[in-house]
Every structure is written in C-alpha cells, then in structure tokens.
Amino acid sequence: MSTVDQEALPAARLPASAAFADAVVIARRNILMIIRTPQLLVFSTIQPVMFVLLFRYVFGGAINVPAESYASWLLPGIFVQTVVFGSTTAAVALAYDLKGGIIDRFRSLPMARSAVLAGRTAADAMRNLFVICLMILVGYAVDFRFEGGFFGAIGAMAIALLFGYAFSWFFALVGLLVKDPETAQVAGFIPLFPFVFASSIFVSPETMPSWLQWFAEHQPVTKVVNAVRGLSLGTATTSDVVSALLWIAAMLLIFAPLATRQYRKG
C-alpha cells in the first residue's frame, strides 16, 4: 500500500496534442470498421450509381438543362448528393456506438471530449472521398468530363467533401439526440429529401413554380452544387465558390459545437 501512496496523481489536464492524437485513434477505428464491412460500402455505392444511370438514361432525355449535355449537368450534382447521403452514416454509427456502450467507455477514458466526433467525421470524409472517386469513374463511363482543368476538378471535389464534412457534424448531432440506430436512419434521410430534390442537382430550379424556385435557388445544397458544377465545367464565378464556402463554414460553426456539447452532456 505504501508504494501506492507514493504514486503521484495523474495530470489534471490533457496535453494539447490530445485532441488530434485521440481523433486519429478514433478515425482509425472507424475506418477499420468501414473496411471490414465492405457490404455496407458496396450498397452505399450502388445507390448513387443507380441514380446516375436512372437520370442519365431514363429521365435525362426528357430534362432540359442549361448545359452542354445532361451528363455534364448531372454528375457534379451527384457528387454532392453522394456526400450528403453518405454523411448520414455519422448519425447511424454514433447511435449504434451509444447503444452498444462503447461511447460510455470512451467517455470514461482520459481522452479529449472532441475526439469521438472528430474521428467519426474524419473517417466519414475519407469514405466520401473514396465514393466520389468511384463516381468520377462512373461519370467518365457515361460521358461526363471535367472541363475546368485539373485545379477545377480538385476544387470541385474539395468543396463537395467539405460540404459532406459539415453535414457529418449535423448528422452526428442527430445521432446523439435520437440515440437509436433505426430512428437515426429514418431521421437522417427524411429531412434530406426536400434539400436534395428541390435543388439544382437534377434539374434547373427555373423550371419550378416560383415559390419553390426561391427556396431551391437559395438553399445550401444548390449553392454548393452550383460551385461544384462551375468548377467541374470551368464556368465557376467567384460568388458561386464564396457562397458555397460560406454555407459550409456556417454549418460547421453551428453544428460542430452543438454536437460536441451534446456529446459532453451524455
């Protein structure tokens, strides 16, 4: 016992490097989990591929868009749709972790409070990167081409990924609030539909009734799609890119602190 008494107490504060180091540990865990459930990755990839094929070949012929071809209009939209749907994973996975008790273990460890969410959203961003690369290949197979040069292509991908990352924080908050994987699945998808379909992803908002057009033109998905499309096709204006980045920043500034607070609260 006397040896125990001599032992010093552990540090009262975490080292400054903890937030990053712990997030890396958690991200690694999440990525391993994604890799080891390939069926999940396969099915979540099939869905956007189906969208591409359906819209390109079934509806595409009937849709008029202000672009050279429907494929060049559609694919940048699909990139954004893919990351937005992909980011719902954060809600399901966190609800699942909560239910399984592993979040309790993490909360009882001397680790950074932000790491579980930072690691989750980082892993989801990696997954989104993988799926976007796949969608680019699919796009090239259906006659989509990047026309804005190398930097345009990189910029388009970066904005799509950042938007997915910001959405991941929103869905992290949803997962922590609903606490149940099945509910998280539904709660995640339903609010997305109006944002995804009443946007410039598939059609030009000009074809919508005026009240809907106003929403469709000003909501974040359209703003981001316009920037991604502009950068992909080489027609981007500064204001397209700036307004997309502002939406992304606003979402991060709102949802990251809210989700982190919810995680601390338990």
Binding site: P15, V25, R36, G100, G101, R105, P110, M111
Partner: protein, 328 residues
C-alpha cells in the same frame, strides 16, 4: 497523495431523472486495496452510482471523490485513475481483440509501444492470447466479457469499477473472473463491484453496501450482515403461492425476526437463534395449519437471506430468472 485518502469517498450523492430519484443521498467510503460490493435489486441505483463514479453522470447534489479527486471538477484525473467494465461488453465487434485493447491503451495516453505491450499483457492474463487476432464478432459471450474486462485494465487503473461483471456468464467463466479479480486485489487494485449474485459478493467483497430506492439500507462485512440474520435460517418452500401469506403469519413469533416471503421462489425464510427448538415449534404450527411444505430446512444464513429480509425481494430479478437459476 496522502495515505489517509480513501479510494472512493461518496457523500450525500443524489441523482434525479425527472421525478424519479435514482440516488437519494448515498454515502460510501472505500479504503484502498479492498473490494467493495454494491448490492441491490434492479433499479435500486447501483448502475447510477457507478456512472457517477465513472464521470458519466453529474450528481445533482453531494460529492464523489476518487483518490481525493472530484468526479466533476477533476474528471480528467479521475478518468486516468479508473477502469470501467460495464454490463454490456463495450468492445468493437469488427476489430480484433488486440486492436480493441491497443485502441483503449492509446486513449489512456500510452505510447504506441506501451499500448501494444499492455494489450498483450491483458490478453494473456485473461486467457485470450489465442484469440487475440480474431475479430471480436466471433467471440463467445464469455470471451467478449473477458475482453471488456481486459479493456478496463490496460490503463492499470487504481480503482476498477465493475458493473455486474459476471451477469450471464457460465459458471466456469464466472469463477475465472473471480480468480482474476482476486489477483488484481493482491496487486493493490481497489475494486468496486455491483452484482446481483450474493454468493459473488460473499466470495469477493471485503465490505458490502445494500442499496434500495436510491438509499443505503445496510452496510457491513459479509459476516456482519449475515450475523444480523441470527444463528441459523429456517427455510421452507411451498408449492401453492396462495399459502405463503397465511403460513408466514402462522410462523410469526418464532425465531429471532420476522419471516420473509420470496414470491418468485415460493419460499419463506425465518431467522432463528435456537435451531432445533425453533424448528420444532415451526413444525407444530404448520401441522395446526395443515400445511405441508415441499421442503423444510435449517441452515446457515446466506447473503441471500439478508437481502430478502432487507428488501422484501429475492436478489434475482424476474426477467433474469433463467440466468439466475443457473448459478444457484
């Protein structure tokens, strides 16, 4: 750290969930290097107290300290001092046993090398070396539980908090876990253990508190608690549950305390001081009543009897009956 500091010092802790008072002014003090048993029926507040000590839940009132560190104001320190193994095996199914433990080691702020070494140590100690590189999904329930226990050990905690560590385990795994806990205590670890199994508390705990409705209703060593029950216990089983009440009423006045009824097991227990004489009086009363018990015995008191007398309920819960009976 001063030598007088207790491993756990809980004073007046209260926790409410809406209208429900889960903990209603609990005091508890656990000296270092001892095993503290926490007993109580389901919903008594055991897990709530565990969550307060593990920094997962802020108490609404009172204070809780682990080696002198406050669980609210000094939570980071408390987290570095404790290891927690919960009721649900909180390990990742898609990771291997080794990966799970290395991850937890890293999160205890160990270097990569130390995390690897401690993970191996833990796996070896818990007999999981063979399974170390298998994905946890393929583990049996007992193996998962052992891995969960292993995860709570990689940080070499000074206080190990175990919430029902053997619930649902087969007898062999259970006694393995017991042996393992004893080993840790021999090494100087303090253990706080909740359990539904009274023989578990009897076997492992130096000191026991019984809580019910969020309050401590008894505490002492297992021996002290059993001594409250008198020298012996008279136990009788009935096949007809309707006869329990009248039979218990007829037995009142015999022995050294009130008869207790366990509806689930259809039995009555009665603390007695003069075994043989009290047994004969009981038989005479049963005869007058015309009741023939299916079983009648005189035995040493167990913690089970203490629990029944204190809470008016059997220790095993209805929904867990199958699990409980296995271990009787």
């Amino acid at each position: 750290m001063e030598a007088s500091v207790q491993a756990v010092e809980v004073a007046g802790v209260a926790v409410s969930f809406g209208e429900t008072r889960a903990l209603d002014g609990v005091d508890l003090s656990v000296p270092r290097g001892t095993v503290q048993g926490l007993l109580g029926p389901n919903g008594a507040g055991k897990t709530t107290l565990v969550r307060v000590l593990a920094t997962l839940l802020r108490p609404g009132a009172g204070s809780a300290r682990v080696f002198g560190c406050d669980v609210v104001n000094d939570a980071t320190r408390v987290r570095a001092l404790i290891g927690l193994a919960g009721q649900f095996a909180a390990v990742d199914g898609t990771l291997t046993g080794r990966e799970n433990l290395e991850m937890v080691g890293r999160l205890y702020r160990l270097s990569r090398k130390d995390a690897k070494r401690r993970a191996l140590e833990s796996l070896e100690r818990l007999g999981l070396t063979e399974a170390a590189d298998r994905v946890v999904k393929g583990y049996s329930g007992g193996m998962r539980r052992r891995l969960d226990l292993g995860a709570s050990l990689v940080g070499r905690p000074r206080l190990l908090i175990l919430d029902e560590p053997t619930t649902g385990l087969d007898p062999q795994s259970r006694s393995d876990v017991w042996a393992f806990i004893r080993e840790l205590v021999d090494d100087g670890t303090t253990v706080l253990l909740t359990t539904q199994y009274l023989d578990e508390a009897d076997n492992l705990a130096d000191h026991i508190v019984v809580i019910d409705h969020g309050k401590v209703i008894a505490d002492g060593t297992p021996r002290e608690l059993k001594a409250r029950m008198g020298a012996d216990v008279l136990e009788l089983h009935l096949t007809d549950p309707d006869l329990l009440e009248p039979t218990a009423a007829a037995l009142r006045g015999i022995g050294s305390g009130e008869p207790s009824i366990d509806l689930g097991d259809r039995r009555i227990t009665l603390p007695v001081h003069q075994g043989a004489a009290d047994l004969m009086s009981a038989v005479r009363r049963l005869d007058e009543l015309g009741t023939v018990p299916s079983d009648l015995s005189l035995r040493r008191p167990s913690l089970d009897d203490v629990f029944l007398a204190l809470t008016g309920r059997g220790a095993t819960l209805e929904e867990n009956e199958e699990v409980g009976h296995e271990h009787r």
